[in-house]
């Protein structure tokens, strides 16, 4: 019997705002897509390998509901659970871990205060510290720049350089989103994913652009991604997660199946 190697992960992503799941196109035009706890459990039962919950609340008032949402979501979830959005300090991270998260995802705060990555890695382990990078291709060049604040603010930093720095500061994984592809369904940016993945030793999660099973196969094979994020493709039933994994397994991508 042939034993599987480490499988490629399909990670279901829930963008939440004020306790509800929403999803936009290119970070805009948000639509309501349901209750995070219910959706997380449904995705887990359908075969998701992990759940990521990103809080995109803009206001402090809406943020207060985050910990309660995390607690409710974590209660019945027995697969890895990552929470991101608005985590700016070790205390913020500790509160999210106490509420039941296994990993935190840092984005703008890590760019502003890279020492936060190290603090979280030292206290909770590198496996608990994910650095999320939102990258945008610069004109016709092959370089990618890091954007923060939900894709609104350019940092002038090269995505590859920043990913390498994040790794050296203790990040356990990189969650790499292509702003150009986010929510478009045109497929992942394999060039971007390859550039980052092949220059790091830690796993890279590709995000932004999933529209079909073939897109996932492409980013695992050609993009060298270790995992891929799926958001809008899942909530609206465009592709059932179980079907997606079956198709990928049939295409020769190592998958956890049956779940």
């Amino acid at each position: 019997m042939q034993f599987a190697m480490l499988t490629k992960r399909i990670i279901a992503c829930l963008d939440v705002d004020g306790g509800r799941v929403v999803k936009g196109v290119k970070f805009l035009n948000l639509r309501d897509a349901g209750d995070p706890a219910e959706l997380a459990l449904a995705h887990s039962e359908a075969g998701a390998d992990e759940i990521v919950l990103l809080d995109i609340s803009a206001t402090a008032e809406k943020r207060k509901t985050l910990l309660e949402t995390v607690r409710r979501t974590a209660r019945q979830l027995f697969i890895p659970f990552t929470v991101g959005g608005g985590i700016r300090s070790l205390d913020d991270a500790s509160a999210v871990f106490d509420a039941g998260a296994d990993k935190v995802s840092l984005n703008s705060a890590a760019v502003a205060h890279p020492e936060l990555i190290t603090q979280i890695a030292e206290r909770f382990g590198s496996q608990a510290a994910i650095v999320a990078i939102d990258a945008k291709r610069m004109n016709e060049s092959r370089s990618y720049q890091v954007f923060v604040a939900g894709g609104r603010t350019a940092t002038g930093r090269d995505a590859c350089d920043w990913a390498r720095e994040a790794e050296s500061r203790g990040a356990g994984e990189i969650l790499l989103t292509s702003i150009d592809r986010d929510g478009t369904g045109m497929g992942f940016d394999c060039e971007l994913t390859t550039a980052i993945s092949t220059s790091l030793r830690i796993p890279v999660i590709a995000s932004g652009g999933a529209g079909s099973a073939a897109h996932f196969a492409d980013v695992f094979r050609d993009g060298h991604a270790d995992a891929a994020l799926a958001a809008s493709i899942l909530h609206y039933g465009i592709t059932k997660l179980g079907h997606l994994k079956q198709e990928l397994a049939a295409a020769g991508i190592p998958m956890r199946w049956p779940c």
């Binding site: 034993f3 599987a4 190697m5 480490l6 499988t7 490629k8 992960r9 887990s44 390998d49 974590a74 209660r75 019945q76 027995f78 697969i79 890895p80 871990f97 106490d98 509420a99 039941g100 296994d102 909770f124 382990g125 590198s126 496996q127 608990a128 356990g172 994984e173 030793r201 830690i202 796993p203 270790d226 995992a227 956890r256 779940c259």
Partner: protein
């Protein structure tokens, strides 16, 4: 049943407690050696650097765990907790593990990405009291940079840059490199079997 989750400052223990809560058992996260010794089940969890296990010695937990084992209490090490049950680890070679299992834990070779993160398949090589209700060779969730060597008590192996010990079992002492609390249904069944062991 009272379950003591040994807190020695290595990472976040909420998920482990949550899994036992779900199974309807009373689990406490504790630093107190007395509570560890008196518990019906002892769990040595932990993620992070092997150096963190120094705390087990400095606060009296090692003796409590050893006494619990001598008294016949089932003990389960998870991830770093399992590695600590071996003789030592190259990650902090000046420290001594419990030595219930033989050999030194070592880093993954440079030929593979490290850490080993994600779902990988077990190869069950011996019968195990914890795997009784599981399907043969389930997929489970790993996240670690160091791995435990093969031992005569290895009950399940895993392949990543070579074969390593994914689960060990010696009488009523158990170790799993993966995270049963994060491995979906197979993981929960394994924890349930641990709770339901005789004695």
């Amino acid at each position: 049943m009272s379950i003591a989750i040994v807190d020695y400052g290595a990472g976040n223990l909420t998920s482990v407690k949550k899994a036992f809560d779900w199974l309807g058992h009373e689990a406490i996260i504790t630093t107190d050696p007395e509570k560890v010794y008196r518990a019906a089940r002892v769990v040595v969890p932990g993620v992070g650097h092997f150096a963190a296990t120094a705390t087990i010695d400095s606060n009296g937990q090692r003796q409590a765990i050893k006494s619990a084992i001598q008294a016949g209490t089932p003990v389960l090490g998870i991830c770093l907790g399992m590695q600590w049950m071996f003789a030592s680890s190259a990650e902090a070679s000046q420290l001594k593990g419990l030595g219930i299992f033989s050999g030194e834990c070592e880093h993954f070779p440079a030929t593979v990405k490290s850490p080993h993160v994600g779902w990988n398949q077990l190869r069950c090589v011996q019968t195990s009291k914890l795997f009784v209700n599981l399907e043969q060779d389930p997929f489970v969730y790993f996240t670690h940079s160091y791995r435990a060597p093969m031992d005569k008590y290895t009950v399940a192996t895993c392949e990543y840059g070579g074969e390593f010990s994914a689960a060990v079992e010696r009488d009523h002492v158990f170790g799993v490199q993966f995270h049963p609390e994060k491995s979906g249904a197979p993981g929960i069944k394994l924890l349930e079997a641990f709770c339901n062991l005789p004695c």
